[in-house]
């Protein structure tokens, strides 16, 4: 197999490189790709949508329809991971581990044994592969998470003017929670941001995007034509587009955040949602 693979790869690669020699030079600004469509986008972004970040305009407006499906892809992935992996804990209840906090003794309670009360201050449930909490990690993360989230919100909100937008902000938001789940443990994270929330928020995010588009459709324009929202925002058509873009970016951010967390929950606990990384 290795040899076959190598031979195929070398042949394909040689062929591809041979054809690549006909490409326009790297950095050449005169190829059709740079001169046909993109000038329109660059030159009209301010006029059409009042958004200086051209990528944002193209992403959420000119090709906003693609982006809606891009968000749907993310949502699909979350749903798919849930669908494939999730199993109920009760199906096969393993032994649970508890730590008696005052003494530091670890208890292993087999299935059917008497479990300490939920929320007991004395007994703390721990993972089977548990290392004592590192104070430094826990506290650093606690500090950092807030800043990550703040930055993420900035990225979402300021996507019109600077690099970033819904995706990046959403992933950052999601990773802040994932960081929390790693630095503490999965159960605590799930308590704060549970599966149902993430699933519903994921769908809601995409729904916000598609719903914005659908609202335009209901208002008589074509799907995702934010211009139709102008009466609602009481603004010009260009500003309406700008606001519309913000709306969908927020939707994207919600969806991506929730789904990233959802996927993490399922992957890190192999679908059981009891013990994470």
């Amino acid at each position: 197999m290795k040899i076959t693979g190598l031979v195929t790869v070398i042949i394909c690669g040689a062929l591809l490189i041979f054809y690549a020699m006909d490409f326009p030079d790297f950095g050449d600004g005169t190829s059709p790709a740079s001169t046909y469509l993109s000038p329109y986008f660059i030159e009209h972004t301010i006029e059409d949508a009042n958004v200086p970040n051209i990528v944002t305009t193209v992403l959420a407006d000119y090709r906003g329809y693609d982006t809606m499906y891009e968000t749907t892809v993310v949502f699909t992935a979350g749903l798919a991971c849930f669908f494939l992996l999730r199993r109920k804990e009760s199906q096969n209840p393993p032994a649970r581990f508890y730590r008696h906090t005052p003494t530091g003794i670890t208890l292993r309670i087999e299935e059917g044994g008497k479990l300490p009360a939920e929320g007991s201050k004395v007994f703390m449930r721990i993972d089977s592969l548990w290392a004592p909490d590192s104070l430094i990690i826990k506290n650093t993360c606690r500090l950092v998470i807030a800043f990550i989230q703040l930055f993420a919100l900035y990225v979402v909100a300021h996507g019109h003017h600077s690099p970033g937008g819904g995706f990046q902000g959403g992933v950052l938001l999601g990773s802040s929670i994932i960081l929390f789940a790693i630095s503490n443990d999965l159960r605590r994270s799930i308590k704060r941001f549970n599966e149902k929330t993430s699933a519903i928020l994921g769908a809601l995010g995409v729904l916000l995007y598609a719903g914005t588009g659908f609202l335009c459709l209901l208002l008589g324009a074509h799907f995702l034509n934010y211009k139709a929202l102008a009466p609602i925002f009481r603004s010009t058509a260009a500003m309406a587009r700008s606001h519309g873009i913000l709306c969908v970016e927020i939707g994207v951010a919600f969806a991506v955040m929730a789904v990233m967390i959802w996927i993490y929950y399922n992957l890190s606990s192999a679908g059981k949602h009891d013990e994470g990384l």
Partner: protein, 498 residues
């Protein structure tokens, strides 16, 4: 409202999928009615669009109000409108039929299943309706991702089969994306109509040639054309029948549609059939696909596996028909997309009902099935006759066009392969009929096999009724194939093709 139909066609299922995903956490009982109504609306929209197209010609819809080539447009023309109806009706029929087995195989996850199911349908609808080469890729990935996950939750071997499908599918989709990238460098646009406009002056551009090769390779991988078919049999036979019921009829067919769309409306027939000298070779690949698919089907011992290899052979029919490059061949390929979707749906729905009842799909377990599940077997028989190509089922007529096309093009190898595969299909299905027809062979060794015979009876009504509807549709499609061809498909083929 009429001008919004193309958008509603795809947005309604998308919104439904999201709502279903949410409803599954709030009130799971709502999922099925929601799914059903979403797909029903989409079906209604697709029929509306079809009527509109027949009455007034192709419909264009600009997403976000941006005209092509700036924005993304949907072009629903003579080629895509019938396929859209096929997709939505296949989805809705299989939904009804699969209801019982979904509840049984995915306890607690029915909401997720339905949501993925609609998303899959959405992806398929989008692939067919879109007029933008890149948008097609995105929708391809939606359909593929949902497909992987629906397939991944089947029997023991399903996850590995699905993972292999994922690897190969990703390679295929990436190749397509790369091909689009090459086209983009060469022309600077992503809109299909716009790309086609550039084609005449690109005849000897090596980048376009390479884009063609790589796009088609990607699509061939995705549609499981013979040497690249390895993923298909396992993926389709190990998964749950509720999922295969919609995936098997649609995936390969829609990929073939994408091939025809990209071939005729991006690269233009003049380029692929006249400038390039590749179509002969591809027809030979298709011949190999037909012959090998049929032979491999003969070697199988279980129903679903056999059906999957028949799909491999059927893919050969359509690819071969398209690359014959004449009007008859392309008509046949297009008509066969519709017919084959119906046939495959019929067979898989029957197989779903059978394995729902028997919990097993090996030939040995099918003894005496005619007596126990007569209606299911009638449906199965109708599908079988269509696959063999017996008039007046629809399979005969598309095969007819394909063979005629093959003769006109002088590709007698293709004609022979088609006839050969018809014969093999006849053998395949009669083997099953024989087993299902004669239960008690006067064979003394067989007695201990009849353990299930008392408990098995006819499949539930929710499975039988859609099956019979499809079976009837096979004949109706056959009877009206003249109308379908003259009113729709002939207009879909560019005038340059004789």
């Amino acid at each position: 409202m009429v001008q919004q139909l193309p958008a509603l066609l795809i947005i309604v299922p998308l919104l439904t999928a999201l709502v279903v995903a949410m409803a599954s956490w709030i009130s799971p009982r709502l999922c099925l009615p929601l799914t059903f109504s979403g797909l029903a609306l989409s079906l209604a929209a697709s029929i509306g669009v079809l009527m509109e197209v027949i009455a007034h010609g192709p419909v264009t819809y600009t997403m976000g109000g941006w005209n092509a080539p700036m924005g993304i447009v949907y072009v629903i023309d003579y080629l895509s409108s019938p396929i859209l109806v096929v997709i939505t009706s296949v989805a809705i029929l299989n939904l009804i039929s699969a209801r019982k087995s979904v509840e049984e195989s995915f306890p607690g996850k029915t909401g997720a299943f339905y949501s993925l199911y609609i998303l899959f349908t959405t992806g398929m609808i989008g692939i067919v309706a879109t007029g933008d080469a890149f948008n097609l890729y995105v929708l391809l990935e939606i359909a593929a991702l949902t497909g992987y996950s629906l397939i991944g939750l089947g029997n023991d071997r399903a996850p590995l089969a699905s993972l292999n499908y994922l690897f190969i599918g990703t390679i295929g989709a990436s190749f397509y994306l790369l091909g689009v990238g090459y086209l983009y460098i060469a022309t600077g646009t992503l809109n299909m109509a716009d790309l086609a406009r550039f084609m005449p002056q690109m005849a000897d551009n090596s980048m376009v040639l390479f884009a063609f090769i790589i796009c088609m390779t990607g699509l061939f991988i995705k549609m499981a054309l013979f040497p690249m078919h390895g993923w298909l049999p396992n993926a389709y036979s190990f998964s749950s029948t509720a999922a295969t019921g919609v995936i098997a009829p649609l995936t390969t067919k829609v990929m073939i549609y994408a091939m025809i769309r990209v071939g005729l409306y991006v690269f233009t027939p003049a380029y692929i059939f006249n400038t390039l000298h590749m179509s002969k070779a591809i027809v030979w690949v298709a011949i190999a696909a037909i012959v090998m698919g049929s032979l491999l089907a003969l070697a199988q011992k279980s129903l679903l596996k056999m059906l999957t290899y028949i799909i491999v052979a059927e893919v050969g029919y359509m690819v071969g028909g398209f690359f014959l490059g004449n009007r008859m061949g392309i008509t046949g390929a297009t008509l066969h997309i519709i017919n084959d979707a119906a046939m495959t749906l019929c067979l898989f729905m029957a197989a779903g009902a059978i394995s729902y009842k028997l919990k097993d799909d090996s030939f040995a377990s099918m003894k005496g099935l005619f007596r126990k599940m007569p209606v299911t077997m009638i449906g199965f028989g109708a599908g079988a006759l269509a696959v063999i190509g017996i008039p007046p089922t629809c399979g005969f007529f598309s095969k007819w066009y394909l063979i005629t096309g093959g003769m006109e093009a002088g590709q007698y190898g293709f004609v022979a392969a088609l006839l050969f595969s018809s014969l093999v299909n006849a053998v395949l299905f009669f083997r099953i009929f024989e087993i299902a027809h004669f239960e008690p062979f006067a064979d003394p060794h067989d007695h201990h096999h009849h353990g299930h015979s008392e408990t098995v009876n006819e499949a539930p009504l929710s499975m039988v009724v859609p099956l019979l509807v499809v079976a009837a549709a096979l004949i109706v499609l056959g009877i009206y194939s003249g109308d379908i061809v003259t009113k729709i498909i002939q207009s879909a083929i560019p005038a340059g093709i004789v």
